[in-house]
Assembly symmetry: D2
Homo-oligomer: 93 residues x 4
């Protein structure tokens, strides 16, 4: 992935997620109410899902488009297989 606007935005979101996780550690240490902890964990999971969407979107516009427009059927097959594996893994979350 090239260093561009999207890279910066993805890194920023990950940094904010990192801080969010640190905050949840404090909540657990302070004995806060379980359901509040669970809801914060769910919020982090949703934030990660958004980052995943951004990375995938970029992947489809770059690597996948290049491979599918290219002349190597094996490469085309490979990028499609990878997408299907990701779909599968997301479905199992």
């Amino acid at each position: 992935m090239a260093a561009d606007m999207t890279t910066a935005e993805i890194v920023n979101r990950l940094k904010s997620i990192e801080g969010h996780v640190r905050g949840i550690e404090r909540m657990v240490e302070n004995g806060e109410y379980c359901i509040d902890v669970v809801n914060q964990i769910l919020a982090v999971q949703r934030a990660l899902q958004k980052v995943n969407g951004m990375v995938l979107n970029r992947h489809l516009h770059t690597c996948v488009t290049t491979a599918i427009r290219g002349d190597h059927p094996d490469e085309r097959e490979r990028v499609i297989d990878e997408i299907m594996q990701v779909f599968d893994a997301i479905g199992k979350l």
Copy 2:
């Protein structure tokens, strides 16, 4: 949540998740392959799911059991409603 073995284990897992997220930031900054980034994000999501399960398990054994065994129907209703909301949110992840 009382300070006990489980608290320590939950905090440790969250600390390790925090480090994992930091590692993904490096991957993105270094321009690593999108699908590798996606797979690491999926791994973090699965780890958070496990922590969520631990917190919920403890919640069912403590607060929920106490409320349901107690004499306040409103409290019973409240803990059940909270569980249903969490179910719903997990289903929407």
Copy 3:
């Protein structure tokens, strides 16, 4: 589960889901656009999730409440374990 209003409503929703699935079979046979088929399947999955919520809600108000208020710690443990397994399975959908 006793025969009551909720039973009727759950059965009605399942019957409507059954009809929805039959409709998707027609779509596939008629060669309709893949993404339209996928979206209909996703709609059925969401409808099933709602039914699951109704069944679970009733379960928490009946069997789980009875077991937790009862005098058998094993029974309490059993219903909590079952809930945790369902949580886990929903998380893996």
Copy 4:
């Protein structure tokens, strides 16, 4: 989607899912244990997920490949947008 082997297999799987849902209606009417009903609904959801994967896989190999290899940037953008929307919807299941 052209009438081919995959079409037949997808329709067969949907027919089997339809029968599975009908079986769950019987379970609910007969007052079977909630958790058994929930587990059957979860099995149907997993089966639908598999069908969705088959439809998407075919879609990537046909329509998406054609659009991305074609000369219309709008068409390329459209198929990628559709995939991203499906990803998003699967993530929210």
